[in-house]
Symmetry: D2
Subunit: 344 residues, 4 copies
């Protein structure tokens, strides 16, 4: 069976594991105050061309999402996000659990627009900041989205402009940032993220690391006592260097970007093969997640060789199925899937 249901079903790239092993005989200070976290943070500041950024390493993405939001917002402030946003749909109300309302907007291809955000923000900001309304203070988007789609540089600039107009933070969930950066359709750089957002993260768990997310606080105004909020929520790993060492290994010579780009390319080959056979898609994804509409019979046929994820039922006879390439997907697996597509 070939597992293509997600991008976190294998441990880590050999280079990452090797880097961890090489630290085994050394001693390190705890809680992220070590040389590896320092080096990895320096590297990220350099790659993002943002010397003022504070970089913190989280064990996981759910933590990164709610800790960032909880650290930035006061109790009467709310979040603007897509209805399908990960924080709204997949994390058991982790955000509401910290006391904040999500103002969920209709999505299109998993994305929301600057115009939608402006309209939602205006309800509050243009109406005298009514007491019974929450203050939208943070816009949350994902790159790539839950549906594998991308924001273009222009879209990001427009969203960033609305955020700055109203004094709202822009937060980009980058659990799959690598796959976004590596997409053939992408025109956004790490530097752009640093310039246009207040905070974003570089996802490791789904992109070659054993686990870990590198949260980049570009805006100096939100850096104070941030690590204390992490600590309070159990997001400071005792052996923090394990995170630093992984990000250093992934980023020091571009491995992170190569792995994701390769996975995106395999995904595009798979997409094209599906297209050629006349399949339609749930979203216009040019990254590692492909959402294919197929009959139940077709799904059954694929299930003989592949583990995929059923995203949702479309109608009585059709389902939407996610095929997901990962940093570890190889050419052979890709070919086998393409072979099956052609023959089913």
């Amino acid at each position: 069976m070939i597992r293509m249901n997600n991008d976190y079903h294998r441990a880590a790239h050999p280079e990452v594991l090797k880097a961890i092993e090489e630290t085994v005989m050394n001693d390190y200070p705890g809680y992220g105050d070590d040389e590896w976290c320092g080096r990895a943070a320096d590297l990220i500041r350099s790659l993002t061309e943002c010397s003022q950024a504070a970089v913190h390493f989280f064990p996981g993405a759910t933590q990164a999402n709610f800790v960032v939001i909880s650290a930035l917002l006061k109790s009467t402030q709310s979040i603007i996000a897509a209805q399908t946003g990960h924080i709204n749909a997949h994390e058991c109300a982790s955000i509401e659990n910290t006391g904040h309302k999500i103002l969920a907007l209709e999505q299109n291809n998993g994305k929301i627009t600057a115009a939608q955000i402006e309209k939602e923000a205006a309800v509050y900001y243009e109406s005298g900041e009514a007491e019974f309304l929450t203050e939208p203070k943070l816009v949350y988007i994902s790159f790539t989205t839950e549906q594998g789609t991308l924001y273009s540089l222009q879209e990001l600039k427009d969203i960033s402009a609305v955020c700055r107009k109203y004094g709202m933070y822009l937060f980009v969930d980058g659990a799959r940032l690598g796959y976004g950066l590596g997409s053939c359709m992408n025109d956004v750089s790490l530097k752009d993220f640093a310039e246009l957002t207040d905070v974003f993260y570089i996802g490791g768990t789904k992109c070659g690391a054993l686990f870990g997310e590198a949260v980049v606080l570009c805006n100096p105004a939100i850096q104070k006592r941030f690590k204390s909020v992490m600590k309070q929520n159990g997001a400071v790993l005792a052996k923090g260097w394990l995170l630093g060492v992984q990000f250093y290994a992934l980023l020091k010579d571009g491995l992170y970007f190569r792995l994701a780009k390769q996975a995106d390319e395999y995904a595009m080959q798979i997409r094209k093969s599906f297209e050629k056979k006349g399949y339609t898609f749930f979203s216009d994804s040019y990254s590692n997640q492909q959402f294919v509409i197929m009959t139940d019979k077709q799904a059954e046929a694929f299930a003989e060789k592949f583990i995929y994820e059923v995203d949702h039922r479309v109608d009585d006879t059709h389902v939407c199925v996610r095929f997901c390439t990962s940093w570890d997907t190889d050419e052979k697996e890709t070919r086998e899937l393409i072979h099956s597509i052609e023959s089913i």
Copy 2:
């Protein structure tokens, strides 16, 4: 420099790393629904002789502490703990952040007694359950304590009896459970913990694992939707098998217990050496943490070769210093310290 400041300054025992490496080429289901977590949980149910236990693997101890407490308590319920308890003193109000008050009791040697607990509980339970008072509903103790001390089986039985009298949960923080079990003074078994508590955990991070704590919910009444509370707080690792595989490696043939016992023995050699030279101690610790009172000059002398932790200042000329052995401390390091003790 020899690092004896804590028990989490090295990565993991080679057996643990090897076990992780061996999984690298395999695919696993995410979020702990994999064979390794299953095997490790079975092993723990067997070692604790508690077939009804639910076992969940956490990345870290701060998470384990606040997620367990948050999952078990309602908003008007509180926790009884020692003033020096980890949750009260070292986690930036992680418990209060989830909405609960800690009723902090005076400690003796880092411990609290059944009598103290009964007295505190009685304020509420024997007084008509007054509305303006919180309901003490969970007793939190650590094994070993922050000061390296142990609860005896009789002490645990007495505390458990008070808890059951009033319907309070008993929760044992086992971040250093191994070092407690391995102590020459210990008379408590894993089975005892399963019988006497509602929930406890077997700490991995400080005891040979890369990271991870195995939370054992012995009481079936508290198992429902527990994992959902974990998810909400970002405590479900995407690649959950990484935790299962580590605990399986540590527990399958007793490595966990041997490592801790050895560390305890080294610590006792160190303690005896300090004793012989007339040093006094902050606590009666028979486990891997030793809190030694010394002059500033002595501390300075030790600092030439050893990294230790200054626990607190005793007076103008004395400090209390923690020397901590770990699963990775070896005979040579121990001898060097003993040699220094004898010669300083």
Copy 3:
């Protein structure tokens, strides 16, 4: 100017104020443990034919809403409500502030249906109770709704049946319960509410009292420590008897119901007058709130004599305006408005 913008712009019915004055020279125990709260609670148990009910008096409705929900739900449980529900739209995220997600459903005439609720609940309950989803545990509806509409007895029975099927609580926000009960279209009794819901409240603030809401916990399983959650949230009035005495005065001989019924009748006269002149309405309201669509010019003309509330803008030239009768609206005011309707 005649104020018809809401139903809480005057203090209280003279009978209520008289009842308060008559207590002035007496001493009472504090925090609701007095004879007046006792008598009012008994009366409510009798009127609802629910001898097992616990009755608690709250100063205000926002408190009643969030305290009830917070007392009933655990951290991973959520609320099903209409998108326009008061708790979702008008209380600055008071519910999310206590840590809970609202699953907001599309409304029709301000209402949600049993079928919609079943569908939303099934996402969780019929899908294996997935960990990343919240558990819908409470259904919140209002009687009357934000748009002045009513649930029929059959609709309530259907909703109640779905709730019981899945073990969800049914909570009826009764800030305007009187106006619902008094409507010419109503077929629901207080006894029905006690039988079909787990908790509901009888609103005083908008219905003749100076302030206060009587929360009726019909389900014995939710009564324990409820008052403690009230206390924790500042919802236990020190001089609790002030609330008891008001509800006793309003309910002892049916004043509460007469006042609301009268207001409803005036509202229907106003509605009919608008209808006759060809106005259309935002909702099918047969209670004290009437939402009328009119041109900006008409709105301006009414504004010369009447204070109303602009509910929302319909288009460039039309607004939706709320005219609200109250327990204190009299015939003369009603006639003046009708006169204006006819002449504008």
Copy 4:
């Protein structure tokens, strides 16, 4: 029976009730946006000589306490208070319920000192602002305290200076502010409170009003969106003018101060009578609460004519009893108690 157990067992001073009645036939805007709240706020700004103050009227003191604290603090910030402080001992963890830790200090006569506060604050501020520690950000004291004692102007100045040194807010719980101001030992003015604190409140419930507390936000930096936090917590009364009208009636010609002063004087007569008979006291109270140590037999004898509050048991044969005068205590009641003291 003469009720001297507390200062909130009677409704309100006749002048206050009269003022409410006089508003009955008028219409008012809701939620505190009315002329009475405006006038009362102006009056308070004038009495405190603090033109920049924002004044908000709360229904009750528990709400005032937790809403102020919740509005001012972030999740990793904590409160310094006396162990016996109302928020720590009497409100069912209302503060922890909003996510904040209370750093409780030993009290002396119900008070804490600038030196104690400085020492506690220094643990965090002088130690590098460690991540695992909360940031003490607000000092909470009561005037008068739970034991009826007062802070002198010098003590307040010293506490205020420590707060400003570390950037901590000073918050004075003024539920019994009137009785403090009216004490024969008092040397603090309303103006002093406005100058030395960031926020304090003028308690109405215990001092002549039906209910209500006037929160004075002296520090402009904490005024923004404060009312929104009130709204979120159900602390904005729909008929807000009821609070404004009461405070205007109490403050416009000094009634508030006269009532409290009179109650204090009666309390001092009672204290002197107890002193003359050789009773000892639990605290050095010169305000309306007197805590008298007596034998069980004496307590029983007083219980024949007086309702008092048993504060706590002293030993097997003695109790500490609170006699409390109030704005409504009259000479006759005072004389009867003194007569009993002399004859028991």
